[in-house]
């Protein structure tokens, strides 16, 4: 029996639940993960990713030496055309690839060389083309401190708000809706309050696979506390087994279904009039717009029986404590903002918000997507959701960053998707990517690829060379969660510590250190008189600088969150945190009803492309797969599978395990079919984690007009039988018994 050299307490780097991990380390190697049974979020429970998925830290393909392209090192002009080059051997070393111009080879180098190339190139492009040519992707996996520094670097040094991250692809619709209706952008209550609900709605969220620990609490609420769960989802997800009702709507028909529920609540006089009168505005206009949303109208569009809509509406409205939990199925649509507003209306009508055990709860997908947003990694906001086009906000940050008066930009920046679509002469020329993987996560990847190739200069700061990093000019090896200190803010606003379990591998450095080093080099080249300040000794100093201006974090110190995290807003050093928001009022004053219309998805099925394709995630994998595909998690789920309903499979003569070719107007992929009633007739589901059969080659890049979130959840495809030889991975065939 082996004993650990030490046990490091940290926070899980995967989904937004924020489970506490105890990393058992021996010889600088994590061999076991446990969780304390008194941990506030997860009570000792973990999922497969948290408990076993940390081994990507030691994967041989991890790159731990700075890499630059040969053309830079040899001082040659950049070769024509940007190629996607991995050229990394199985032991993390660059290998020359004879298939391509050797000027694109990766060459190992030292930090000085790599960072000087980055600083020189960025400053050269900034001097030539100005702020609009500069753009950056922050990272929902990195710490608050890393994100704060990166947006500070771009705002204070390059004077641009072209700062965004993958929240745009995830909950942007929810965030915009919450801001319009309430003035907030996070879960109103904590996930652990689910056991206080007596009725709750789960919609557009496959919680068991994407937030496994919250799903356990939902199951506990049903099994041990007598709560009733209503699942509204096109797929027969695991939670349906324990649900009181399952409303199987057609993808993209949230607005009619939830508006019809509102219709029932109004018509049957189940409205909490006191709440509507005292806490909301715009009800009369809303009522007019609601008239057309009869349950029968919704049934016609969504396929959900009108009677079920009535029953669900009554159940939720009559609950003592009702709550709504939602995921990407609401927000990832060209009307994602409207979908989220339809949910917010239900809470307004019934008053199921502002008390313990109620609430409007968007479940955030990544460990720190909430924190990255809080840190201002967004084109319209400084840290603390302070609008960039407000001169008062600008003055505060100019003071904090020693920027001359009027120095920071008031111009709204470009969003994630816009940054790439502006990658051309006269548009965005240089892109810095920290930890993200747009070549997997953007919709319509063939188009994304063309945009990536248009970039003049691309930096990737990551742990692996992923599908996006393979396009980069310089690769900066950063550290994963296990090798750095900082904080993550989880989905229910709890700010928790991340701690290094062992020193970085090779030459890798924590992101915040790399960014400070780089920023100083850029600042020196720009010749600015005042430094924005980059001499932090420890990440805590970074958090304190941010908390000095961002009031939500004002009372958070590393000392206070040493054992248990704090739930922001924490306005001062003695404040205990705020698990339940909006008890007295909403940040914008009164909650605002909006008038909604039903807008169909941009691409409806037709004769040529008769299936609706919907995409999502798997328990074993995580987003673009940079971490999980380089982990033993990949062994237990090694390939993408297309879920097809037996009725559809019969018509097309497709059997379980057969290879199928899925084709949309934008691209095609080949994978094996799983014949299952988990999906509905006419709907095909695929996961998007697998680069060799990337779901986002098919998806539609139509955007929500307000939130700019792409329509990942519905597009039209055709399914053709394929041959084994067409499969990217013909030898793999693994059936799992899990849901």
């Amino acid at each position: 029996m082996i004993k650990p050299d030490h046990i490091t307490t940290s926070t899980c780097p995967y989904c937004g639940v924020g489970c506490t991990l105890q990393l058992h380390v021996r010889d600088d190697f994590i061999y076991k993960v446990t969780s304390p049974f008194d941990s506030p979020v997860n009570h000792g429970n973990l999922c497969v990713k948290g408990r076993f998925g940390y081994d990507f830290v030691y994967h041989p393909k991890r790159v731990t030496t700075p890499l630059v392209r040969r053309y830079l090192l040899e001082g040659k002009p950049k070769p024509e055309g940007r190629e996607q080059v991995y050229a990394i051997s199985s032991d993390g070393k660059p290998i020359p690839d004879s298939q391509i111009s050797n000027l694109w080879d990766w060459v190992e180098t030292d930090w000085d060389t790599a960072l000087n190339f980055v600083a020189d190139s960025l400053v050269r492009i900034y001097r030539r083309d100005g702020s609009d040519a500069m753009a950056v992707y922050c990272c929902a996996k990195a710490t608050n401190e890393d994100n704060y520094l990166l947006q500070k670097m771009y705002r204070a040094l390059f004077r641009t708000n072209n700062v965004d991250h993958c929240t745009r692809l995830c909950h942007a619709g929810s965030v915009v809706a919450l801001q319009q209706a309430i003035g907030s952008s996070a879960m109103s209550n904590t996930a652990s309050q689910v056991i206080m609900n007596d009725v709750f709605i789960v919609t557009g969220s496959n919680t068991s696979e994407n937030h496994p620990i919250i799903a356990l609490q939902m199951k506990e609420a049903v099994m041990k506390h007598g709560a009733k769960m209503i699942v509204v989802d096109p797929r027969r997800i695991d939670l349906v087994d324990m649900a009181e009702m399952w409303l199987a709507l057609k993808p993209g028909t949230n607005v009619p279904v939830f508006s019809a529920m509102a219709h029932v609540i109004v018509k049957e006089n189940l409205v909490n009039w006191e709440f509507v009168k005292n806490r909301t505005e715009g009800f009369d206009e809303f009522l007019e717009s609601l008239e057309k949303f009869t349950p029968e109208y919704a049934e016609e569009i969504s396929g959900v029986p009108a009677e079920d809509i009535r029953k669900a509406a009554r159940m939720y409205a009559r609950a003592k404590n009702g709550a709504i939990y939602w995921g990407m199925g609401i927000s990832q649509l060209s009307h994602g903002t409207a979908s989220a507003l339809a949910l917010i209306h239900l809470a307004f009508l019934t008053g199921h918000v502002g008390r313990d055990g109620t609430g409007l709860n968007p479940l955030r997908g990544q460990n720190n997507v909430q924190g990255a947003s809080d840190m201002g990694s967004m084109p319209f906001h400084y840290p603390g959701y302070m609008r960039v086009d407000n001169p008062e906000n600008r003055a505060k940050w100019e003071k904090a960053w020693n920027v001359e008066e009027g120095g920071l930009s008031l111009k709204l920046g470009l969003t994630t998707t816009e940054i790439l679509s502006h990658a051309h002469e006269g548009g965005v020329r240089a892109l810095f990517i920290m930890g993200e993987n747009p070549m997997m996560s953007e919709p319509n990847l063939n188009e994304t690829r063309r945009h990536m190739q248009e970039l003049e200069f691309l930096v990737s700061q990551d742990v692996f060379i992923n599908e996006s990093g393979a396009f980069a000019d310089v690769f900066l090896p950063a550290t994963p969660f296990a090798e750095k200190d900082g904080t993550f803010s989880n989905t229910d606003r709890r700010v928790q510590r991340v701690r290094a379990a062992h020193p970085p591998r090779g030459l890798a450095r924590p992101d915040w250190e790399i960014l400070c080093d780089l920023a100083k080099r850029i600042e020196a080249r720009l010749g600015r008189t005042n430094s924005a300040y980059w001499d932090y000794k420890h990440p805590e100093e970074i958090l304190r600088e941010m908390a000095g201006v961002n009031e939500d974090y004002a009372g958070i110190t590393y000392e206070r969150i040493d054992k248990v995290g704090l739930i922001y807003p924490v306005p001062d050093l003695n404040h205990p945190g705020t698990p339940t928001l909006f008890t007295e009022s909403f940040p914008r004053g009164r909650g605002k009803f909006h008038q909604l219309d039903y807008v169909p998805v941009m691409e409806e099925p037709d004769d040529e492309y008769p299936f609706i394709l919907t995409t999502g995630r798997l328990l074993e994998h995580w987003h673009g797969g940079t971490m999980t595909r380089n982990s033993s998690l990949n062994e237990i789920y090694p390939e993408a599978r297309a879920e097809i309903h037996p009725a559809d499979a019969d018509i097309h003569g497709i059997k379980h395990g057969d290879p199928v070719r899925l084709q949309s107007r934008r691209g095609e992929v080949v994978m094996r079919a799983t014949i299952t009633e988990k999906t509905s007739v006419g709907v095909v589901f695929i996961p998007w984690h697998f680069a060799e059969a990337a779901g986002n080659l098919l998806t539609n890049d139509a955007l929500d007009p307000q939130a700019k979130i792409p329509e990942f959840k519905a597009c039209a495809v055709q399914v053709f039988p394929a041959r084994d030889g067409d499969l990217p991975n013909p030898e793999v065939m693994l059936d799992r018994g899990r849901y």
Binding site: I2, V48, F52, M733
Partner: protein
Amino acid sequence: MSDNLTLVIDGQEISVEQGKTLLEAARENGIDIPTICFHEATTANALCRICVVEVEGMRLLQPACIVKAAANMKVQTRSDKVVRSRKTILEMLASTMDLSDAPEILTMMDEYGASHERFPDAERRESDIKDDNPMYIRDYSKCLLCWRCVQVCADDAQYTYAINFEGRGYESQIGTFFDKTIPETTCVMCGQCVGVCPTGALKPKRQFLLEQGKTPSEISVMNTGRKQRKPR
């Protein structure tokens, strides 16, 4: 407080809330009762019986983890009868299973003067290590049937129901339905079971490999490129 009741444990008068077990009553007042199968995060089932105590007026020793404290109870946690029972339980465990990964039980044996050789003729419960997935191994030679893994897989945490008891009497063991491999069961590989196993019968694969003498770099390479293929 009106909800409290008074009892005597080891001569000490103790006031506890109604509904508490004897184990909770004792521990709240600094009296140690040893436990093996009990875990604060799982339902107590009084399987291992190491927590037995003597209650005046009751014919048999009572498992403290499930027996509720009652008014005026007189409880002894270290009587001769209790100590002899615990010692025998430990000796029976040591005679049938591999305790090498259960340091707490080994310490307990020292404390109670329990002998590893008390029952030299006992048939040991031995089975091959089940290594059927990349996340954890199952070594039931080290299993004392505490039931924690089955419970966290079921209603105590995960609601997954992948494992249960199989066999009867001496043949009882933890297993999967129809003896399927772990990936083929409903198992989601959350490892809740590994987290509550008190004897190292369930162990993370990487810890197992380190103990087999593999180096971290050898283990890291093993995790790559290997594909599980289903025999067709």
